[in-house]
Chain length 457, copies 2
């Protein structure tokens, strides 16, 4: 796997491109290696702030779940075999959710029923619940018992044709989990559903892994850092900032990467753009590596004379896992690691292509899994699903393609359409899209109405 | 649409259920009404913190995009018709990204080529770029021009068979957007791709709508607020807190809702659970309505004698849009609005079912679009896509079903499998799932390998 870019690669000769699938495998192998070596400090985090974080320990059931045979319908706790439309059952009392019949009363006996609410424990003696919608109560509601809240002289029978099997409308004690069971493995990403589970075990905070720091460095002489132009921008939207020159562009990639890193659960550390100059670039790369175990560069990885990123990294002793992938956009993407200050493990880096759409696509497919591994997340998988294609899409085989596209989920079948774009520099088209249509490497046509794969955002 | 629950509805008679599609339409109509009446204050927000927020004004192009004819490949700017393998073109200089040829030099003339880098402006005279991979340079690199950086006596010719059409490898000036064009409409949700576009226009901050406050109130006598048990919990994971009683459960729904609200771009305001008591419930509901224009309740909306939520809200003059939907889980879900302190507009509320999975599913399908509307987001659509079903799934027709399921995206085709669950109280199964399989109302069988719809998380 160890491979250093030759000067041929750096100077105008096409690099040996690997397939998209091969690149994914290489990243996955490094992510696994990171996971295996990970010994981060865990910190306790309040539940609401744990959203999007990664659980650092196993979540263990504090008791059986449910902790009692839980009634799932409002109705009458009965012995299922007693049910008979011609023989009313005597209603002997009532149990609300949050109450327990067992403590002070005898079990439900033959010929008896207990009015019961969803969420209450099934009382001893009963084995099922007759839903209130399937029952007919008869008899007087006058009078009450000693504590004044249970009506006397009531009876209930099933509506004609309604029968009951033992266990119906009851979730058995411990059927969801047993006390001591592992409910969530360490490395689980905490979404609302996982937060809910932790709360149900009584946890108000959970130990999570720290957010990984990610250094971000855009490169290119054409890039202008908008923060240098605050005064002009304060003039308002649509104003032409005075200081930018016609052949310059604002750096957008470092902002895109900061947003992507934050969305993926990392802490972005953004520098101003570096110039296409060996010394400036080397200094900025060192600064980035000092700040974070993971460095994202954009630009400077293509075949131009001033694409210096690989040269600087090679000079620092970098190991390159790949230096080009058969994909579009994103072909010149570079992945590797580099020693820094004698630290172990070495620091990972990506050299992402400078075209903005390329930067964002390569982040989503390659950077995300590595960042997830650094965050301790063992559940990461590509954010891919399918939809119906709205119209024929012609492609040139040879590269796996990611085409900015719009998914419409309001139709009976979710339907996706490629967005008109001027290419991988077209930020406007990409911002109007909401996903990427994936065109396989060997494909020359995706047909209207066929099911296609999407990279979701 | 105005409909108040009758005492029949409150006391044991099944409510008139509407279809899931009808419920979605009702919510969408209210979301539209909210959007139409929305006049929130916009606040300027630093770009990185604008992630997930909603743009409050149109994003307008500060200049043409690209601002110059942008070269998309490293190579040679030429006149396409000059290209001839037998007639080398004289290399007259070099333009890097961030430089401009036009300012100090004559246009590229017949028989000439200009070495050029990706991202640079195409010089006047040239109409296309010959990729460096398709070119062969000949001649001496010795010597340089007056400013010491352009080698003299060089020439370039295309590799055999390589031709060029005008415009090739160049994105025309203004082809992505014209100065003054609206790039993003007000009401666009800002993901990384939209943040990138704003940055490319030189914006370091953008006006966004405020995050809507959402009051959250779980109800039920069986619920224990874990924050009352901090000491026990400090004992560590897996410990049984001493103070909870066997027939009680920890409130998890308010935590689930807080996480869901935050994930959807709102600010959750969570109260401790309310008891199944008219006075306590009414006081808590008033407190919630005071704090926020939107109130989420869970529990207390089913058919039990102590499901008091509708009764309290009806007593406050609530208008109910629906009080039951043909779906599972989530059937007893209630949606409406209620006058408060004479305020206009009235405050919206949902009474979500208390079973935890019901709470989360009804949030994702009904609460999210309303919350999006309050956040000014005009781009919301249900988070639905498709995948291949792993195994036959039997269903009972009559209700639209949402089944906790696991989507595996690592296979060639994303594949989904229902997760074994004990029902809509089974938080453990739901936390191990990563999506919901959608079973249409009229469906009794989904077959293995068929494409099915998923509600993604």
């Amino acid at each position: 796997m160890q491979r250093s870019p030759s000067s041929d690669v750096l100077r105008g000769e096409p690099a040996a491109l690997i397939s998209f699938a091969e690149a994914c495998s290489i990243v996955a192998a490094q992510a696994d290696a990171i996971q295996a070596a990970l010994t981060p400090e865990a910190a306790n985090c309040e539940l609401i702030n744990a959203l999007g974080r990664t659980l650092a320990v196993a979540l263990v059931a504090d008791r059986d779940q449910p902790p009692f045979p839980r009634v799932t319908r409002d109705g009458y706790a009965v012995r299922a075999k007693d049910l008979n439309p011609d023989l009313p059952l005597r209603v002997i009392g009532q149990v609300r959710a949050g109450e327990s019949w067992a403590a002070e009363n005898p079990p439900v006996a033959a010929g008896e029923a207990l009015e019961i609410m969803t969420g209450a424990p099934l009382p001893p003696g009963a084995d099922a619940v007759l839903m209130v919608e399937h029952a007919q109560e008869t008899g007087s509601e006058s009078g009450s018992d000693a504590n004044g809240r249970v009506p006397l002289h009531r009876s209930v029978r099933p509506l004609p044709g309604r029968t009951l099997t033992p266990g119906e409308n009851v979730v058995p004690e411990g059927s969801e989990a047993r006390r001591g069971d592992i409910l969530l493995e360490p490395g689980s990403r905490l979404g609302p559903e996982q937060v809910a589970l932790a709360a149900s075990c009584g946890f108000l905070s959970v130990p999570v892994y720290p957010k990984p720091n990610v250094a971000i460095l855009a490169t290119g002489d054409e890039l202008v850092d908008a923060s240098m132009h605050m005064d002009e921008i304060a003039a308002g939207p649509g104003e032409v900032p005075g200081a930018i020159r016609a052949h310059q562009i604002y750096d957008s990639n470092s902002h895109a990467l900061a947003a992507l890193v934050r969305q993926a659960g990392g802490t972005p550390l953004r520098q101003s753009p570096a110039r296409d100059d060996l010394d400036d670039l080397a200094a900025r790369i060192r600064k980035g590596l000092q700040a974070a175990p993971f460095l994202l560069l954009t630009g400077g990885v293509s075949m131009g004379k001033f694409d210096l990123v690989e040269e600087v990294l090679a000079g620092m002793g970098a190991e390159f896992f790949f230096i080009g992938v058969k994909m579009q956009p994103g072909k010149p993407v570079v992945f590797g690691r580099v020693p820094f200050d004698g630290d172990r493990p070495e620091r990972y880096f990506f050299g992402l292509p400078g075209n903005p759409v390329s930067t964002m696509v390569t982040f989503r497919v390659f950077v995300e899994p590595l960042l997830a591994a650094l965050a301790g997340d063992r559940s990461w998988q590509p954010n891919i699903a399918m939809a119906k294609l709205a119209a024929d899409f012609q492609a040139k085989p040879g590269l796996t393609r990611f085409v900015p596209a719009h998914l419409d989920t309001s139709a009976a079948l979710p339907t996706v359409a490629a967005v008109r774009t001027q290419g991988s520099g077209d930020l406007t088209a990409n911002a109007r899209a909401n996903c990427y249509l994936i065109v396989p490497e060997d494909c020359d046509l995706l047909s209207a109405n066929q099911m296609v794969r999407l990279l979701l955002r």
